[in-house]
């Protein structure tokens, strides 16, 4: 039966961990814009270089 006390404490700690995660997410503005990231993830990866490679790096969708 004693184990149940430990389990309760552990569950509380885990829940607290998630609460802190939520605070962090809200604080870093992850709930500010719920549209852009959903679009951004669909963009094709292109060569991320600043040395203007020729246009053949781009892909046709």
């Amino acid at each position: 039966m004693g184990i149940i006390y430990l389990m309760l404490i552990v569950s509380l700690v885990i829940a607290l961990f998630f609460l802190l995660g939520f605070f962090w997410a809200a604080k870093t503005g992850q709930y500010d814009d719920d549209y852009t990231p959903s679009v951004r993830i669909l963009f094709d990866d292109e060569k991320q270089s600043n040395t203007n490679t020729e246009a053949n790096g781009s892909t046709e969708v």
Binding site: L12, F18, D32, D33, T36, G57, S58, V61
Partner: protein, 783 residues
């Protein structure tokens, strides 16, 4: 007729198209954006969405020069070090996923831009650029690809969504979930056998409930305390009584070793209430309803002093300063014209897009946009004292509008609860004296108007969203009850009932041959000027073929356009531009035509009433009193009277002040006025009216401060919008009935002494969730 459309912006191509890479474009601007993008390897811009481009507007080289003045520059950048500058810009043209793609890959166009992150909801881009790139150049690059940054007022861009409710909600949700978990044995009725374990979970529940009452619920308690201190009541008073009764009773149970009490209900209760608050606080981030005159005026202008030219911010201008205003710049204060003549476009102020000609020595009000040659002006009044800005100061404060109507309800509610509690207490005194406190407390708990408090935010919040989807954007939910009490509707005419641009075209002059019509069409099509667009749409129907070659095209700002089409020199523009020798000034808006130096005739433009506007006025007339106020001369009076019947009032030549006074007069007669206008000259009236709705062709651009913004194309559906808004009243009533039924059920448990924590834990979420469902379903079906 071919109906090709531009590969970049999707506009119809009239006349010879501009071809590049086998793609067809409507104008040079679009073509050059395409060239730039394809050179930079950004072709995907065109494959993500069909024809996503924005036609770049004409601009001048000096437009962004003010950004290089050190103390102005500092105001706009977020952060800088030796190598980089971080800056956030408001780009109102962002409208689709291709825009996001383009802007986030903008480093391919200019490698001095290191990164860019778009916030679509706020139409903002956060850029990191290297120090070699001036802010003015950056703005120029963005402008060239069609995303002109808006430097309006800084406060507008800086606003950040308030995360307060999110944090509070997180805490309450955390406590709610945890306590429910620990109360599970309690729900199953197996707790009695193990008092030690039961005490342990009770104390845990108490521990997590402390932040809920101190942090999550503090707003309700503070608001109730304030109300009581000022000897008034609001709905937060009965809520706070319920919360406190619930909390104190539970805490007592826990410390007396009687079990966890109602802590689960308590945390859930706060959780649901906060969801309502959070839902209500969500508004349209990218729209601004609070604009004052500073957002219309340029940030800085060019000043001459002691023969020296410098760029200064407008609030540093003094009387008798000399200003240099360039083509397309806005005049920031009341001034006197020093140059010989100038053309001023007052469309931001009056809604009338036809420019007005001014002569040397004329007094010029602030807010006009200069067209054509750069001109000099002398400051007569400082910017914040100008005629226009005075209007804002006179309109009075917003506070008087928000008279709380919910107060009566809370008074009745509280009275009923107190009476029931007293009577029941007295009754139980005779039945079982030891249980009186417990019963009275449980009555206070169950009577807490949680569901009632949720009805309003959800009903109004949903109504606001339904309206927003259809093109009427409300500032916040408190506008809805105000709309529902409107008795009189006042319309501005120019720009509101009529379209802002002069669309209706009449030709007056020598007969034009089919070839000539064709040549004029091709030339006019090369210009983005609104009058050129009107000519194009007028002539399009009259011309069959459209593939002539245009060379030597030239546009003179404020004057006209010229070019050689099929070997003939065509000029379209002001009378002075086309035939300087026979120039007689007139009041009408017209574009004159000359072909090879011979004067042909003129196109006369008249403003056009919006489609469906007469039907709207007549529909509204059945339930409201309609008034029309116009700043113009009364040329359209007969037209309006022909199409409508029994308007309450129709007045012409109304100054902004007259409009404001007219509204105040109506309000003094006890009317609730809905004002619909568009220009800055309506700003005072919009502000002082019960509800002010600004009409806008482009909702992200210039609108005077108002309670709501409506898309111009949706104005004819106003009646339906008002009906949707009124329907919310019925939904609210249904919600009230439901929540009162829940209260009665709960009370019957409490009065009979049967309100166990388990029943409370079932009843409370059930009522909250069903209210949310009812209000969502009904408001969404009511369209």
């Amino acid at each position: 007729m071919s109906s090709k459309s531009c590969y970049h912006c999707g506009d119809e191509i009239i006349g010879k198209s501009h071809t590049f890479d086998n793609k067809e474009f409507c104008c040079n601007g679009c073509k050059s954006v395409y060239q730039l993008l394809s050179d930079s390897g950004l072709d995907s811009f065109y494959s993500l969405e069909d024809k996503p481009g924005v036609k770049p507007a004409a601009s001048n080289d000096y437009k962004y020069a003010f950004l290089d003045v050190e103390n102005i520059r500092k105001k706009f950048i977020d952060f800088e070090d030796d190598k980089t500058i971080h800056i956030t810009l408001f780009l109102p043209q962002i409208h689709c996923s291709s825009c996001i793609y383009l802007l986030e890959n903008i480093h391919k166009i200019d490698e001095r831009i290191q990164s860019c992150q778009v916030n679509f909801a706020r139409r903002q881009a956060s850029l990191v650029i290297s120090r070699e790139l001036k802010i003015s150049e950056l703005s120029g690059i963005l402008d060239a690809i069609g995303y002109a940054p808006n430097f309006g007022s800084k406060s507008e861009q800086k606003k950040k969504r308030n995360n307060k409710y999110l944090y509070k909600l997180g805490v309450a949700g955390f406590a709610f979930g945890s306590i429910m978990l620990w109360s599970f044995p309690e729900y199953l009725g197996i707790e009695e056998d193990n008092p030690e374990f039961r005490n342990f979970t009770s104390y845990l529940s108490f521990a997590v409930s402390v932040p809920v009452i101190l942090y999550s619920a503090n707003e309700y308690l503070i608001s109730a305390y304030k109300a009581l201190r000022f000897k008034s009541l609001n709905l937060d008073v009965p809520i706070s009584i319920g919360i406190l009764a619930l909390y104190i009773q539970s805490a007592y149970n826990i410390f007396a070793g009687l079990g966890p009490g109602y802590m689960d209900s308590f945390a859930g209760f706060i959780f649901f209430l906060l969801i309502g608050k959070w839902f209500q606080s969500k508004t349209y981030d990218s729209l601004s309803f609070e604009r004052d005159y500073t957002s219309y005026f340029p940030v800085a202008v060019t000043r001459f002093r002691n023969e020296e030219e410098s760029i200064v911010e407008i609030d540093q201008l003094e009387i008798d300063d000399e200003l240099l205003i360039r083509n397309m710049e806005i005049i920031p204060c009341d001034t006197i014209l020093l140059s010989d003549e100038a053309k001023i476009d007052y469309s931001f102020v009056t809604g009338e897009s036809v420019p007005i000609e001014k002569k040397k020595g004329d007094f010029i009000y602030a807010g006009g946009k200069l067209l054509g040659q750069k001109s000099r002006f002398k400051v007569e009044k400082e910017s914040n004292r100008s005629h226009l800005t005075q209007l804002w100061n006179e309109a009075g404060s917003e506070a008087s509008k928000d008279k709380n109507t919910g107060d009566k309800l809370s008074v009745y509610f509280l009275l009923a609860v107190l009476i029931i509690a007293t009577l029941t207490g007295a009754l139980w005194f005779f039945i079982d004296t030891s249980r009186v406190t417990e019963i009275v407390v449980s009555i206070l708990i169950v009577a807490c108007p949680c569901a009632l408090a949720l009805s309003k935010p959800f009903t109004f919040g949903n109504t606001m969203r339904v309206l927003g989807r259809k093109g009427l954007y409300l500032k916040n939910t408190s506008v809805i009850p105000r709309i529902n009490t409107v008795t009189d509707i006042v319309f501005d005419k120019t720009g509101t009932l009529t379209t802002g641009s002069s669309n209706h075209v009449i030709y007056d002059g020598d007969e034009l041959s089919q070839d000539d019509i064709h040549r004029i069409l091709v030339l006019a099509n090369s210009s983005t000027h609104p009058l050129s667009r009107s000519i194009v749409s007028y002539l399009k129907e009259k011309s069959a073929d459209n593939s002539a070659e245009l060379i030597n095209f030239q546009e003179t700002g404020g004057e006209g356009i010229e070019g050689i089409v099929d070997g003939l020199e065509i000029k379209i523009g002001s009378a002075k531009f086309t035939h300087p020798e026979a120039h007689t000034p007139s009041n009408e808006t017209a574009s004159h035509i000359s072909i090879n130096g011979t004067y042909k005739g003129r196109f006369i433009f008249e403003s056009e009433f919006r489609p469906g506007i007469w039907e709207l006025l007549n529909e509204l007339n059945t339930s409201f009193d309609i008034h029309i106020l116009s700043g113009d001369k009364n040329k359209d009076q007969e037209l309006i009277l022909d199409h409508t019947n029994q308007l309450k009032g129709i007045l012409f030549e109304q100054s902004p002040k007259d409009k404001l006074n007219y509204i105040s007069q109506l309000q003094n007669d006890g009317k609730n006025v809905l004002m619909i206008g568009d220009g800055l000259n309506d700003a005072g009236a919009l502000e002082s009216a019960h509800v002010g709705i600004a009409v806008s062709e482009d909702i992200f651009r210039f609108t005077p401060s108002s309670d709501a913004i409506i898309e111009a194309s949706q104005l004819n559906k106003l009646k339906r919008f008002l009906r949707t808004s009124t329907a919310s009243k019925k939904v609210l009533l249904i919600c009230y009935i439901f929540s009162i039924i829940y209260n009665i059920v709960g009370l019957s448990f409490a009065i009979t002494g049967n309100l166990t924590p388990l029943i409370a834990a079932i009843l409370m979420p059930l009522s909250s969730i069903s209210i949310v469902l009812i209000s969502t379903l009904f408001t969404s079906s009511n369209r």
